[in-house]
């Protein structure tokens, strides 16, 4: 009897745990959708590569340290396509002393503006006027801001690269799918978006309402 009791208690706690997670709207790692399905086709290397010399921040900006010590910052592939095609509208001014967490770039999906935050402290040396207002075909070439910074990119708590970045990116797409479902956003056939379980579908876009933009910034663009 004791054996059954202990076993039942063990299984009961696991069950309660699952139920609690359900209520909180989270998923257990064992039962969340397998990441492998996101390996394909988004990550077959042609669609969204994760270059090993880049660092990624949680605010969906990428950072690259050039040989001259300047750090280039751009929007990562998630940011450029999450809710449709992103057009960069504004950059910070050259010469500004930028603090981590301040707005570095502003862009728009359709008529809704989103703010990207600076992942790093530093003083802005130059900005890339070419990217403003244009459709970005290659996110890693389209750098927005060049700045000089004393911060180290090796800080693993703030920036990640390699496999880690890859896994994080996959999870972000899973999260995005949930986000779109939760906000019951409609998908329209304009532009390009990551909707559809990570499939790049052309000519679709998400119809955004104001509240969902705020939530989007909170969920995906905060550092």
């Amino acid at each position: 009897m004791v054996a059954i009791f202990v076993l039942a208690l063990f299984l009961f706690i696991l069950l309660v745990d699952l139920i609690v997670l359900r209520i909180q709207g989270k998923s257990h790692p064992a039962f969340e959708p397998a990441l492998s399905q996101y390996d394909y086709p988004v990550y077959d290397g042609n669609v969204i590569p994760i270059p090993s010399n880049l660092f990624f921040s949680k605010g969906h900006t990428w950072l690259k340290k050039n040989k001259d010590g300047l750090i280039e910052i751009g929007i990562d592939p998630f940011g450029t396509t999450a809710l449709g095609t992103l057009l960069i509208q504004k950059c910070v001014k050259s010469g500004k002393e930028l603090k981590r967490g301040e707005v570095i770039l502003e862009g728009s999906y359709g008529n809704k503006t989103v703010k990207f935050l600076s992942p790093i402290n530093g003083s802005v040396k130059s900005i890339n006027a070419d990217v403003i207002g244009k459709k970005i075909s290659n996110p890693y070439k389209a750098w927005g801001v060049r700045l000089i910074s004393k911060d180290s990119l090796e800080n693993g708590n703030l920036y990640f690269g390699g496999t880690e970045a890859l896994n994080w990116m996959k999870k972000e797409f899973i999260k995005l799918k949930g986000f779109i479902d939760d906000h019951s956003l409609k998908v329209e056939l304009v532009g390009e978006t990551m909707y559809d379980g990570g499939l790049l579908s052309n000519n679709t876009s998400v119809l955004l309402v104001d509240q969902s933009v705020n939530d989007f910034e909170k969920e995906f663009l905060s550092l």
């Binding site: 009897m1 202990v6 299984l11 790692p29 290397g45 270059p51 090993s52 890693y140 880690e164």
Partner: protein, 401 residues
């Protein structure tokens, strides 16, 4: 970590606080009133839930030596990320076991007696010494993590020099005491039900602890992947499927070995007829074999399932359940008919056990948050040799540039 974050009530925090509070009261009663009033133990059932739970705790902590041996002795560096969590699990597991033993001792104030009063013929004596030695080994194995944190570099050098003998000693101490928990029952051939009694009991215990220890680490990986999120500043806590599949395969082998040994034992000792006797023991035995051995072997022998994290998780739960059933069957179910009493643990016994488990989980979190349990600095090898996981991404970037 802000105070507000710590105080923010979550479901499990509330439950934990309730369990620990109740446990503390029970502990107080246990020590102030004695065993008789607070437990359901009595002359016919001298060992109850606490001892049974000790067997479970030690069995589930077995990954500490298997993983250490795999990585440091057999040089399979793929499993390096599991070493520190496994050692920490083993250490905390043993701490729970030792605390439960002290609670269970009738005269806890004499707990140090085995150090000076020896009876080398006692299995219990051997277990006590192996526990002491192995806990020391675990401390030595985990010490670099603590020293790294406080940037005390000098002793690490010496620890590195003795690390291999320490790991080998750890494996031997573990082998001895894991099997000796089975040997404890060799002296009760007339009392323990023949379904479980066997002269091979130590070997059964040893093999089953290997399977269950690894399953525990797999199970824990899922807990870790969930509890330690990136938002808390954790890295290297994602599920690493190739590692989990590999460990599951080892579980499969250990389970098959254990099952074959059981078959050999039953045929060799003519115990097969016992399987057809309808009795509580028989049903419990079937349940144990079914959940703990047959179902996991069946699941893990499918290549598709062994690579699917959902099934790996469910199998690990099965194997852990099997160990729980087995250890409690040996220590309680199998002795029930000879004692003639139906024992069920008292409220206080359950409380104290649950409290210690909760405290161990809490300690695990605390240590994992403050020390580099999931970052392996010794992973020079793994970077060099285990290129498979990362090569994919490197190819990507090369192609891109």
């Amino acid at each position: 970590m802000k105070i507000n974050d710590i105080l923010k009530p979550t479901f499990w925090k509330v439950v934990s606080v309730i369990i620990v509070t109740m446990g503390l009261f029970s502990t107080y009663y246990r020590f102030s009133r004695g065993l008789g009033l607070t437990t359901n133990l009595h002359d016919s059932v001298p060992w109850g839930l606490w001892i049974g739970f000790d067997f479970i705790g030690v069995g589930l902590a077995a990954a500490g030596f298997t993983i250490a041996a795999t990585v440091h002795i057999f040089h399979i560096h793929k499993y390096e990320p599991l070493v520190r969590p496994a050692i920490l699990t083993a250490f905390l597991g043993y701490l729970v076991v030792v605390c439960l033993l002290v609670v269970d001792l009738g005269r806890p104030e004499n707990f140090w007696h085995p150090l000076v009063m020896w009876n080398i013929h006692s299995v219990m004596f051997e277990i006590t010494w192996c526990l002491i030695c192995y806990t020391t080994v675990l401390i030595l194995e985990f010490a670099p993590v603590v020293l790294e944190k406080f940037k005390i570099k000098a002793p690490i050098k010496y620890l590195k020099i003795i690390s291999i003998p320490v790991v080998i000693a750890g494996v031997i101490f573990s082998t001895l005491h894991q099997s000796s928990f089975g040997s404890l029952y060799l002296i009760v051939p007339g009392k323990l039900h023949p379904l479980w009694y066997s002269s091979l009991l130590p070997v059964h215990f040893y093999i089953s602890c290997i399977a269950a220890g690894l399953s525990m680490i797999i199970f824990e990986s899922f807990l870790i992947a969930r509890a330690f999120t990136k938002e808390d500043g954790f890295h290297h806590t994602e599920l690493k499927m190739d590692i989990l599949s590999g460990a599951s395969f080892a579980v499969l082998i250990a389970l098959i070995a254990g099952f074959l040994l059981k078959i050999y034992d039953f045929i060799g000792n003519g115990k097969l007829p016992l399987l057809t006797v309808p009795s509580t023991e028989t049903y419990f035995f079937y349940l144990e074999i079914l959940i703990g051995t047959l179902v996991p072997i069946f699941l893990l022998s499918y290549k598709k399932l062994i690579e699917d994290k959902k099934w790996i998780y469910l199998t690990s739960i099965c194997v852990i359940s099997g160990l729980i059933l087995n250890r409690l069957n040996v220590s309680i179910t199998g002795l029930a008919s000879s004692s003639g009493v139906n024992y069920f643990p008292s409220f206080d016994e359950i409380n104290i056990t649950m409290m210690l488990v909760v405290l161990a989980i809490f300690a695990f979190r605390l240590i994992a948050k403050n020390f580099d349990v999931f970052v392996s600095n010794e992973s020079e090898h793994s970077v060099n040799e285990n290129g498979t996981a990362k090569s994919k991404q490197i190819i990507l970037s090369e192609r891109y540039e």
